[in-house]
Symmetry: C2
Amino acid sequence: MSSPFNVAEIHIGVVGLGLMGSSIVAALLIAGHPVKAVAPIPADSLEADERIFNQLKQCEEAGLIANAENYWQLLTISEDYAILKSCHVVIECVIEDVDIKSVVYQKITSVVSPDCIVSSNTSAIPISTLQRYVSYPERFLGIHWAEPAFMTRFLEITCGNLTSPEKANHILDLAHCWGKEPTLLKKDIRGFITNRLMYAVYREIFHQLEQGNATPEDLDKAFRYDAGSWMTLMGIFRRMDYSGFKDFDTILNTVFPELSNSTTVPRLMQQMVQQDARGVHNNKGLYPYEGEEGKQWEEAFTRFNLDICQLAADYSADKLNLK
Amino acid sequence: MSSPFNVAEIHIGVVGLGLMGSSIVAALLIAGHPVKAVAPIPADSLEADERIFNQLKQCEEAGLIANAENYWQLLTISEDYAILKSCHVVIECVIEDVDIKSVVYQKITSVVSPDCIVSSNTSAIPISTLQRYVSYPERFLGIHWAEPAFMTRFLEITCGNLTSPEKANHILDLAHCWGKEPTLLKKDIRGFITNRLMYAVYREIFHQLEQGNATPEDLDKAFRYDAGSWMTLMGIFRRMDYSGFKDFDTILNTVFPELSNSTTVPRLMQQMVQQDARGVHNNKGLYPYEGEEGKQWEEAFTRFNLDICQLAADYSADKLNLK
C-alpha cells in the first residue's frame, strides 16, 4: 500500500503509560513510528516497558509483525517530557481529570514546536473543554482508541470548537497508516459517536429488563446473534440498504413513541456503581462470576478480538472492492 | 450432543414459501426434521423446491451437512394443507397481512390436531393480535427467524397474551436441536427484542446525521469497528461487565437527557420510503450503488454470514465452558 507518509520519520509521543497508553504505544510501534513515551508516574515506566514488549510479541504471534524486537527498539521511555521535543503528534492518555490533564498539556507544549499536534484519548471530557488548556488550541483534538489499540480497527477523531479541520484531516490520513478505519466527529458531542449510540441502546435495554419482558441473557443473545451477525460487515445505514425501506415509515411511527425517554440512571446500574462492580475484573457484575470465570472471559475476549479483527480485515473496502 | 428429541419423528409444517419460508424449510431440514411445506401461491412451489435444494447444497459446501440429497428427501411440498395433518409444529410465513394470515390459520387448524403448536414468523404484527384468529389460542406463538434461517443462530420466540408458557418453553428446547441460540420474549412488545433495541439506535443515529455531526460512512464505521468488535461475543450486559461500572452513573445522568426523544420518522427515511428504495436490491438507498454493486453486497453478506456464524459457534457457551 503506497502512503504519502514516511512513518519512520514521524515521531509520536505518548504521555501516560497505564493499560490504554501502553496499548496505544504498541499500536504506533507496529505501524513503524519511533515512539517517545513519557511515564508521569515513575512506577509505570518499568511495568509499561515489559507490557509493551509482550504486546509486540502477541502481534508477532498473530502474524501482524515479523520481529517484535525490531519494533521495540523504536521505543524510548522516560519520565522527562524533554524526549517529546522531536514529536509531530503527542497523545495524552493520563487519568480522566481536567486538572491533571491541564498540567500535562502545559508540560507537553513547553517542549514541542507550535505546530506539533496535541491530542487526548479521553472518552469522558469534552475536547472543547480540554482545548482551553492548550496553547495554539487549533492543533488540539481527540484521538479515541479502542482496547486493545494494537488490534482493533476503530479510531475516533474528535474536533473541539477551535480545532483546525486541516489538523483533524491530517490525523485522519495518518490513521490509515496505523491500520485503522478512522471516523471523524466534527463536533464533540458527549459520548462521541459509538458510546452515544450505545447509550441509546442502554436506555431501551434497561427499560425492557425492568418491564420483565426478557431475561438479561436473552437480551444479550438477541444482540449477539442478530445484530452481531451483520454489524461488522455493514453498520447501521448499510444494513438498512440491505433490508430495504418498505413499511419503515409505519413501523418507526409506531415504535418511536413507545421507546424509553428516561432521563434517569436505571436502578440496577446505580446498584452496580454503589457496589464498585468491576465486572469480570473483580467477579462482581450483572452476571454471576465464580473462581476463574472473570479471567476466562478476559482471555476469551483477547482471542475473539484477534479473530474478529482479521475477519473485519477480510471484508474491508479494499478487499470487497466496494465503497 | 444428546437431546431429548428424536427430530426424525417430529414433523414440522411451513406455510408460505417465499424467500423467508424457503430459508426456514432448509433450516428445519438440516436439523433432521421431515418438513411438510405448503405453497399457498402455486407459482412458488417449483421455484421454492429448487431454491431449497440450492440452500441445502450451500450447507453441504459449508460442511454443515454431509449430503444435500438425503436432507432434501425429507421435504414434501404441496398446495394442499392436508399434508400438515401429521405436524407437531406449523410455522406460518405468508405476507404481513392480518386478513390473509387469519385465513391461513383457519386452514391450518382445520387439519392439524388441537395440540399442534401453530406459530408465525411475523416481525410486524403483534402475536396477541394474530392469536385471536387461532382456535386453542394458547398453542399460538411467534417464532421469528433471521435471514438466512439455515445459517444464523438467532431465533426469537414471542408469547402473546394467551400463549401457554409450556408451549413456548417446548419450542425453546426444540430450537436447540435447530442449532439456534433462542431467546424468549415473554410479552409481545412491538419490534420484539432486537428490532426494538435497534430502533433506539435508529432514533439517535438519524439525529446525529441531521445535526451534521458525522457522515453516514463514519457513523457506520464506528458501529462496525467498535460495537462490531465485541458484539458477537458479549452482547450489551456482558460488555458492561467487561468494562466495569466506574463513573457510569455520572455518564448516563449526563447523556440520557441529551439523547433524541423524537417520535417522528426522520425525513431521510421518509424520502427512502417514498422512492421505493429497496437498497442493494434495486440500487436505490442511503448509499449510492452503480452497476453490480448492490449484487456484490448481497454476495459479500452471504459469505460474511457463514464466517460470522462459524466464529459465533467457536465462542458458544459450550466451547467457552462459561455461562
